[in-house]
Symmetry: C2
């Protein structure tokens, strides 16, 4: 199945998985829909579905886990944009959730997306068919999204504001902040498909290299892109005096490192042969993205 | 097992279940520990363990779900206290999380507790022994904690600030905001024990009546308690012009309603006979609590 077809399925399913709030909490549900809809590249859920397929699983069974992962990614953006965090007014070319709905509603919408993600995962077809795999996948998702994963990276990010940090600290931060959910995508796909340890480890290596390349390209785009294409303000890293791959390595050094990481991602899938061509192309495509 | 013995187990296990963050995110992990430790009455996890026992399950198998529920309760308090929400500086007799650690760290600590709750549940002994029950329990927990449950109640609360609301709206709000996690406690205990539908429904009725009584007593204490005993400022409902059971029914009307709800909770357990005596006593005890 093409990635566009995956994205279609993901978008339709995301809408169906959101709670129907009736009269009780319309603002929060509207804010959840607003932030989930439109603009997202859906990289993480696509990675999950394709990793599942590559390991012999049925992507349809894993669809709700893929949507759960996108909900978690989206909640993290809502909370990251709040005034007490990065204080960003724009996201994906439109006002950030707290600008559109107010801070309190944005806070709750983020909380609700994170919570709904676990409802979706635990009610998925995968959970019905293979409950033991599903509980393993839920645990993995929670660990990678939590204080030892993505949130740990956000915490390092907080501590690093207005302060120069070393390249290795930056790599640790990004391995957690960006890499953990990329890893979750690929590893969950493998777990839900019942993949063996070798395939699972190969996908984890792919995801970690891809996550690093992705973050380096993000840093590059913050310097080189124009705001209309990127959908958010450019130059915000420099404005906040954040250490980035560009500030530490220069633009060409950062590009070389992203290229190297992309190569590592591609190489990690060698054992899968031609069947992994779509994931290899995705890595190369993300290297040359402009937003 | 006595409730004090349950509380001991819960407190020890909560500590063990928190992530070991090493050098990566010490602030967030410290804030998680700070808010989880001390002062909490642990009503929800105790209810879960005792409901499990009452339905023939082993409370030890359900312990991590009980801790998960307490983590979710604690995260909701951290986020509720934030300046953009209720803006409360004190909680359980000490500075609120965001006063002690700053807003950004408190936000992340809440997110991390919510996330860690699902890791704990999915890695529990219950999940190992009965994965199908565990995925059902995870889904139930997420639904009751989410936009259609607790968060829905918080959203109504937001909309109701500085505005009079009807008794029935207040009851809807509290059924979600307070009642949903009480229900989660009792219903999860039943699900994890593999209880039949009749027992499960009886425990749900007990939990909903108990939750209503609990909230009414909360409103009464906000008027009648002293700050040192309550561990948080009194009179905050009136200061925020919130409709409460006391403002709508008067103090004696509120007391009568709490008494009625407590009676309903006690009656709901009739079919369990003498074995339900501890849960009945808990309902009566909560009616007369002073904090």
């Amino acid at each position: 199945m093409s990635f566009d077809a995956y994205i279609d399925k993901i978008n339709r399913r995301l809408e169906a998985l959101l709670p129907v709030c009736g009269c009780d909490a319309p603002g929060v549900c509207d804010a959840m829909r607003y932030s989930l809809a439109g603009g997202g590249k859906r990289i993480r859920p696509v990675l999950l579905l394709e990793s599942c397929r590559l390991c012999g699983g049925d992507p349809d069974d894993a669809l709700d886990f893929a949507c759960a992962l996108e909900m978690i990614h989206t909640y993290s953006l809502i909370h990251d944009d709040l005034p007490c965090m990065d204080d960003d007014d724009m996201r994906r070319g439109k006002p950030a959730c707290h600008i559109a709905f107010g801070e309190a509603t944005a806070l709750l919408a983020g909380d609700a997306l994170l919570t709904q993600a676990f409802a979706a995962a635990a009610q998925s077809r995968a959970a019905e068919l293979h409950p033991a795999r599903a509980v393993e996948a839920v645990a993995l998702l929670a660990r990678l999204a939590g204080a030892e994963g993505m949130i740990g990276g956000q915490a390092i990010d907080l501590q690093s504001e207005n302060r120069a940090i070393s390249l290795s600290r930056l790599q640790t931060m990004d391995r957690l902040k960006t890499g953990a959910l990329m890893r979750a995508a690929c590893e969950l796909g493998a777990v839900l498909a019942g993949a063996d340890a070798v395939k699972r480890a190969a996908l984890v290596r792919y995801a970690e290299a891809l996550g690093q390349a992705f973050q380096i390209v993000d840093d590059i785009l913050d310097v080189t892109a124009d705001e209309a294409t990127l959908g958010k303000p450019v130059g915000s890293d420099a404005a906040q005096s954040k250490s980035t791959y560009v500030s530490l390595l220069g633009l060409s050094g950062a590009r070389a490192m992203a290229q190297r990481s992309t190569g590592e991602a591609v190489d990690a899938l060698a054992a899968f042969g031609e069947d992994a061509a779509p994931l290899r192309r995705l890595a190369e495509h993300l290297m040359t993205r402009t937003f």
